[in-house]
């Protein structure tokens, strides 16, 4: 399907000042495009989670929004530490967030499960020492 619109947001690690800005802008853009209701809510939740993940766990990275005629795609890629055990990381309640993040109320271990729950398609690829790429697709009915 033809790609109609793409925008990339750089996300800085441990930058709690700008954390959430990318997902706020993504929501705004989708509303301007006329994406609403259930899809918007799901993208909102997933984009916020994935953006915060980049801030909390990784060494920063980027979040890329691509809009197709029939779907919205979010790809988060980072140069972070990578995830050793993916099935463990996907479990609800499992978190490796540091003290700083926990003191700000993050690190409940719901990030990845929440993304998976909200996306229509969810894929995660990770290599220790290299980084993690999360791809989520949301169908526009």
């Amino acid at each position: 399907m033809e790609e109609l619109f793409r925008i990339t947001y750089p996300v800085k690690a441990a930058d709690y000042v700008t954390a959430g800005q990318a997902s706020t802008d993504i929501k705004r853009k989708l509303k301007q495009l006329g994406v609403g209701g259930d899809v918007l809510r799901r993208v909102a939740v997933a984009s916020y989670e994935v953006e915060l993940n980049l801030v909390i766990h990784y060494l920063g990275g980027e979040l890329c929004l691509t809009v197709f005629e029939d779907a919205v795609q979010l790809v988060s890629s980072d140069v972070g530490p990578g995830i050793a055990d993916l099935s463990m990381a996907m479990r609800e309640g499992f978190s490796t967030a540091n003290e700083e993040a926990r003191s700000l109320g993050f690190g409940a271990g719901m990030g990845l499960p929440n993304m998976k729950r909200n996306a229509d398609e969810f894929d995660i690829q990770s290599e220790v020492g290299k980084g993690t790429t999360i791809t989520m697709r949301f169908r526009l009915s």
Binding site: I7, S23, Q32, L33, L140
Partner: protein, 434 residues
């Protein structure tokens, strides 16, 4: 045929507007543009919050409300004061002084909107007991917040509680009780809300969630303040007077509603930019452990309304002192359950999203526009100076793709273009000489 203009209480006084850009950046929905040397308010985006009224040094933004002559047009007139009115008079000990003063300035009867708030409190509490409520349920009391949700958070519309504003419920009861007492026809009675803000006036003329408002108009607290002041000396003597509870009166201040409706698990947010930030959190599903959310466009709640006279902090203090002296009866016990069946408390129309922010009805076309918008933004200087008449460079780019202006309306782009043209001319002239 042109679409009829949407009614707005907030308007521009053309003669006073200097065309400065102060209001541009303060509008939470980016609904103001300066074109042709003066401000224009975009009807489809304005949510009547009154931020521009507050910020304009030239008093060019005004709130249109009813005048006392409109009241006199009715055979009988009832004043429905927002509890905020009690906070306008320093040292006021009881609402009855204000109620009596309202009768002295020309109203045949008075009915406290705080009593409406009591009924609404009970109605919302019953709603909260029904299973399957969205979390959090969002208050419908501030019309600016409801309009903000329609424009910027349309996906949160189903979180708005399906209960009418206190002034609406109060007006239904007031009119019915008055007609019964006096044996007159409802059409002979004018119900006027004494308002702290323009948003309520707009909500009366173009109601959201209701076919028709139960009110006939609204009078600004600023207009009444001077008239009432000399009469705040006697208490209302009416054997049928039923006072509102302290909970109802406290609705005038931020957290008053949340405290009455759901003291254990609610959040009260005031100031429109704060409300926007919290609504973003609701949208991100970060506040789903919360039962009730009260949002006030004005800092401090209604006491901070643009049409109030008293300093909002002083007014809040006055209200709280008054509430402390009132009996601590909760609306659950003060309001008989029969009231909820006797008078309409629920909306009769769904709340529709406002699609003014959409770039195009066709999504593919909208994406094309957004792509162009981003290309333009990349070329713009990013100063957000407002010289072009749009609040920010991003809004300017949006205005260009919507066809309202062009890139040369940016003074910086124009300067660069002129510079390039001048250089080209010099080059041309020189090549000619050789």
């Amino acid at each position: 045929m042109l679409e009829p203009r949407r009614y707005h209480s907030v308007r521009l006084d053309k003669d006073r507007c200097k065309g400065c850009t102060n209001c541009l950046r303060h509008c939470p929905t980016a609904a103001i543009r300066v074109r042709g040397g003066r401000a224009h308010i975009l009807d489809n985006l304005c949510i009547d919050c009154g931020e521009c009224i507050r910020i304009c040094d030239y008093h060019a933004k005004v709130a249109f409300t009813d005048v006392m002559a409109n009241v006199k047009a009715y055979k009988y007139a009832i004043a429905l004061p927002a509890p905020t009115l009690y906070g306008q008079f320093r040292g006021l000990t009881r609402p009855e002084y204000v109620l009596e003063a309202l009768k002295k300035v020309g109203f045949d009867d008075v009915f406290e909107v705080a009593r409406g708030a009591d009924i609404v409190t009970r109605a919302i509490r019953e709603k909260l007991r029904e299973p399957g409520q969205p979390k959090p349920l969002i208050s419908s009391a501030c019309p600016t917040i409801v309009r903000l949700i329609q424009v910027r958070f349309p996906d949160l519309i189903d979180h708005i509680v399906n209960i009418r504003q206190p002034m609406e419920v109060a007006a239904s009861v007031a009119r019915a009780e008055f007609c019964k007492k006096r044996g007159c026809d409802p059409s002979e009675v004018g119900c006027f809300f004494i308002t702290p803000c323009p948003a309520k006036m707009t909500a009366i003329r173009t109601p959201i969630g209701q076919k028709q408002s139960a009110l006939d108009g609204a009078i600004s607290m600023l207009d009444l303040y001077g008239l009432l002041l000399p009469h705040i000396n006697e208490m209302l003597q009416d054997p049928n007077y039923e006072p509102a509870t302290g909970y109802g009166v406290a609705w005038a201040t931020a957290n008053g509603e949340a405290n009455a409706v759901c003291p254990d698990n609610s959040l009260s947010v005031d100031g429109i930019s704060n409300v926007i930030r919290v609504l973003e959190e609701v949208e991100n599903d970060k506040l789903s452990d919360l039962v009730y959310l009260e949002g006030n466009a004005c800092m401090g709640g209604c006491v901070g309304g643009p049409l109030t006279f008293e300093n909002s902090y002083v007014a809040k203090d006055s209200i709280h002192k008054m509430v402390k002296r009132m009996p601590a009866t909760h609306p659950d016990t003060a309001v008989p359950g029969s009231m909820l069946n006797k008078y309409p408390t629920k909306n009769d129309l769904p709340i529709e999203p406002n699609t003014a922010e959409k770039l195009d009805d066709n999504m593919v076309e909208a994406m094309r526009k957004m792509k162009r918008m981003n290309e333009i933004i990349a070329r713009l200087p990013g100063y957000d100076c407002g010289s072009c008449g749009s609040p920010t460079c991003a809004t300017f780019a949006e205005d260009i793709v919507r066809g309202y202006c062009n890139e040369m309306d940016c003074v910086h782009m124009l300067r660069d273009k002129l510079k390039a043209m001048a250089e080209e001319m010099v080059e041309l002239a020189q090549s000619h000489r050789e």
